[in-house]
Amino acid sequence: MKRTLWGFMLLLGLAVPAGAKMQVVATLPWIGSVLREIGGDKIQVTMLVKPSQDPHMIEAKPGMILAARKADALFFNGLDLEIGYVPLLIDSSRNPKIQPDKPGYFDCSRFVDPIEVPESVDRRQGDVHPLGNPHYHFSAPAVLKISEGMAQTLGQLDPAQAAWYQANAEAFAARLRAKQETWAVVPLQGKRFVAHHRMYEYLAKEYGFTISGYVEPKPGIPPSSGYIETLLKSMEQSKPDGILVSPYSSKKEAAYISAQTGVKVILLPHDVGAVPETGDYLAFINTVLEAVK
């Protein structure tokens, strides 16, 4: 009887065999990519959002709950970007390891100084992010800090491999710093763009270009024809160098604006894997800067 009971419990996956890879869940592709840099083959990364999906519009699906149930750690973007599913995933997972008071609860935005933190929040402004602009993954320095934090947390959860994670984080940092030198000379200073969504502000801040208007009148709210007319007028003044759109967003409006103004549409990946040749984080930033320059 006792043996059947133990067999039953084992069958239900209650015991994790020793020496197994750490199970790590990442919400967004860029988080998964950086985790792979640091964890290498010592961790198994499950990503919850596909690069083709709009990161704002994700629902907690059973498969995601299941992944969270088995996770040793959950890494997410934070700043309320995943508010529609991460809290529910954590609750439904029944997994003590990823509860907010545990090291397995890794909010990447902890390492970031958010920009555009609103002074007051009113939904008349659209689906604003009350904690600031959550799309900080376009900032390589921010991601560098996060990668150091990841190495520390992975080491804490898996002390036997702590030195390995540390070494990988240092190697990643070295590669990123080398890339930053080539990125620093990309001529973006003073350029002006119109963007579909409030997504590229960290990039603009770092590389000295401005975003002079948005296709969306307010975050998450598609434009009316009246709004587009106003935008077209403002573009006569600002004379932007391009219209930035993400692969997941509607391109109809941008194409219309482009036809009216002659300003070219620039497809900018919003995450790792969203367009070809963005297989990892460094390639992603590289592609973004190549596209925008």
């Binding site: 419990m9 239900l12 996956g13 209650l14 990503m47 919850l48 959002v49 596909k50 083709s52 999906q53 709009d54 519009m57 629902e59 907690a60 699906k61 059973p62 498969g63 709950i65 299941l66 149930r69 088995k70 309320d80 508010i83 529609g84 599913y85 809290p87 529910l88 609750d91 439904s92 997972s93 029944r94 997994n95 003590p96 509860q99 907010p100 008071d101 933190v117 007051s120 929040v121 939904r123 659209g126 689906d127 009350p130 904690l131 998450g220 709210i221 598609p222 997941y248 967003s249 509607s250």
Partner: protein, 419 residues
């Protein structure tokens, strides 16, 4: 769980004070998170061969009719009634109590008063994939039962849910233990015990003399939900549910205002549910698909406990064997726009055996409902709905149509909805 209107006042004060306290940055202020859901609609229906409105037609469906007045059951105007309807304003408070518990309170305020819909506490850190929930909560029986009315893709509820479980569904004081297995596929199991299971559904309990008393929990529920892992775009989840509980009725056969015969027994409902979702990469819900269906069979068996008009009837049985299903599909036609179609079919099985030894089999009832909705943003939505149905009533079949328009709004930090 019904409160006087004056209980709204302290709730409103609490609401306003928390709103001002958390104006700066919701995620950073202290618990609880707060939201308000407003759900109102305008509705019209018309039935030929009867002057009655929809609410009345639904209560007269052959084999399902309430018949006489049931003591202890409340009847309130949650049925769609012609004209403007205010389903309710729902105040939603939730938050972590400490590292070990999470709590929710949902108060539904309607013109008739305030009602405590949910007051539940659940564990956060139990090992082995276990979770324990207690308080007043919605049962996870089937699919629709645990969803709040503003989550429904249609204005009206499916008829099988409405007739088997009433307008509030299976919602009562109770305890739930659930388990999520760590297998390669999704498997969640749950057991629940309730005081009775609800106010106006298959599980009515009176417990007043001359009817026998039963100790709580009088209703038990078991369910499982399982689905394969189909990746990030497709999801499939199937469920099986069972509920059994005490059912008692009190009738006034000679209509003199006093009860004269009493029945006591049980009701069982068993069934299955299925949901498939496809999340297309196109923006704002375009091309997304949701297909859902639930099927239930109900068996009611009650004995006449006492009969003051015909004492010899005592001990005879009343039995009902009935089923019902709905199947619906929702499709994202354009960004922000969805259309949907639902079929209700009630009473393919619809047999009643009466205590006097006679039996009857009734016709099925069918309804087809179409809807379209438009989301202005994630927080507000307009919906249109129209239906045509053939209803088998106790005194003849009628057909009729209905139409409605709804506005559904959520204010504040609203927690994510379950899959």
């Amino acid at each position: 769980m019904r409160f006087a209107l004056k209980t709204i006042l302290p709730v409103a004060v609490l609401l306003l004070s928390s709103l001002s306290a958390r104006a700066a940055a919701p995620g950073l202020t202290m618990n609880p998170d707060l939201s308000v859901i407003l759900d109102g609609y305008v509705y019209y229906d018309h039935f030929n061969a009867t002057d009655e409105d929809g609410a009345h037609v639904f209560s007269e469906i052959a084999g399902f009719e309430a018949g006489h007045h049931h003591e202890g059951e409340e009847t309130h105007a949650h049925e769609p009634a012609d004209g403007f309807n205010w389903r309710h304003a729902e105040l939603n408070f939730s938050g972590s109590v400490d590292p070990f518990f999470k709590a929710w309170v949902i108060a539904a305020i309607s013109p008739e008063g305030a009602e405590l819909e949910v007051a539940q506490i659940e564990t956060l850190e139990l090992p082995l994939g276990l979770k324990v929930k207690t308080g007043k909560f919605f049962s996870d029986f089937g699919r629709l039962n645990a969803q709040h009315s503003h989550q429904w893709p249609f204005i009206t509820a499916p008829m099988v849910n409405q007739l088997f479980f009433g307008h509030h569904g299976i919602n009562d004081l109770g305890l739930q233990v659930s388990y999520l297995a760590g297998l390669p596929f999704y498997l969640e199991l749950g057991l629940e015990g309730f005081e009775t299971g609800g106010e106006e559904n298959s599980l009515a309990y009176l417990g007043e003399p001359p009817l026998p008393k039963f100790n709580s929990p009088r209703t038990g529920v078991a369910w499982l939900k399982a689905g394969p892992d189909l990746g990030l775009e497709h999801s499939l989840l199937a469920g099986a549910s069972f509920i059994q509980g005490v059912r008692q009725e009190e009738h006034d056969g000679d209509e003199n205002g006093a009860a004269d015969h009493w029945l006591s027994g049980w009701a069982q409902v068993a069934g299955a549910d299925l949901v498939y979702k496809y999340d297309d990469p196109a923006p704002m819900g375009k091309n997304d698909i949701v297909v859902e269906a639930e099927y239930y069979v109900r068996h009611v068996r009650m004995q006449i406990y006492r009969h003051d008009l015909a004492a010899e009837m005592a001990g005879a049985y009343l039995q009902k064997l009935q089923d019902g299903l709905y199947a619906q599909a929702i499709y994202g036609l354009w960004p922000q726009w969805r259309i949907g179609l639902r079929f209700d079919h009630l009473g393919s099985l619809n047999r009643v055996e009466y205590p006097d030894g006679s039996a009857a089999t009734f016709d099925p009832t069918r309804r087809t409902t179409f809807m379209a909705d438009w989301s202005f943003s994630e927080f507000s939505r307009l919906r249109w709905e129209g239906s045509y149905g053939e209803y088998a009533l106790a005194d003849g079949n009628v057909n009729g149509w209905s139409c409605g328009m709804q506005i559904d709004i959520s204010l504040g930090v609203h927690g994510a909805h379950k899959f």
